[in-house]
């Protein structure tokens, strides 16, 4: 039951360049999407979110884009920094629903 999919298990990006992490979903009832960052031996840390009524949300170096018709969202990090090296999870929830459905994660490595 892979309602949220992150098809790239890993991604390497040069420091200073743009990192683009992708996420696809199948459940059209999802109306809110979140990105989390996770370091080893720590819990997921909330990064940025977007409501289904928007197509873009920006917070500093992080921008999330949502394409509802394609059921696709992406996280852009620019410029990428060494501290951004972590596993990134996208997550989704439905209206009035509390649970988050997570993707399998993408391990981002920033190369100095």
């Amino acid at each position: 039951d892979q309602q949220v999919k992150q098809n790239s298990p890993s991604l390497s990006v040069q420091e200073g360049r743009i990192s683009i992490l992708n996420c696809d979903y199948t459940n059209s009832m999802f109306d809110y999407f979140l990105w989390y960052k996770k370091y080893p031996a720590e819990g997921p840390t909330f990064l940025i979110s977007i409501s289904s009524i928007k197509d873009k949300n920006e917070d500093g170096r992080f921008t999330v884009f949502l394409n509802k018709s394609a059921k696709h969202l992406s996280l852009h990090i620019v410029p990428s920094q060494p501290g951004d090296s972590a596993v990134y999870f996208c997550a989704a929830k439905g209206f009035g629903n509390e649970k988050l459905t997570f993707g399998t994660g993408t391990r981002l490595t920033i190369i100095p």
Binding site: L34, G43, S51, E98, F102
Partner: protein, 114 residues
């Protein structure tokens, strides 16, 4: 920065034993959650808790699992009779309100069932 605290960080238990995982959510939060991540797999929802009762649970959260808020600060997950497949990282999370918060997660308890 307020944080969600989980203890212990690592618990090893024998199959069939009961375990209690403990969490102290952020003090003014009202909604509490447990998630788990089996090694190499995705983070999965177990249960949400509000106003002293379960508000939602997944199919994973069967009769072997229970949650409790025994006092004003702790939130616990009990597994009555552990199985090998219960081995996972268990994350507690809390949020101030239902809706579109970025929940705050704890650092997790690694449960190893042998």
């Amino acid at each position: 920065e307020p944080e969600v605290t989980q203890t212990p960080s690592h618990q090893v238990t024998q199959m069939g034993q009961e375990v209690i995982l403990r969490c102290v959510p952020i003090s003014n939060h009202l909604y509490f959650y447990w998630y788990r991540q089996i090694l190499g797999q995705k983070v999965e929802f177990l249960v949400s808790f509000y106003n002293n009762e379960i508000s939602e649970k997944s199919e994973i959260f069967d009769d072997q699992f229970s949650v409790e808020r025994p006092d004003g600060s702790n939130f616990t997950l009990k597994i009555r009779s552990t199985k090998l497949e219960d081995s996972a990282m268990y994350f507690c999370a809390s949020s101030a309100g239902q809706g579109n918060d970025g929940y705050t997660f704890g650092s997790g308890t690694r449960l190893t069932v042998v």
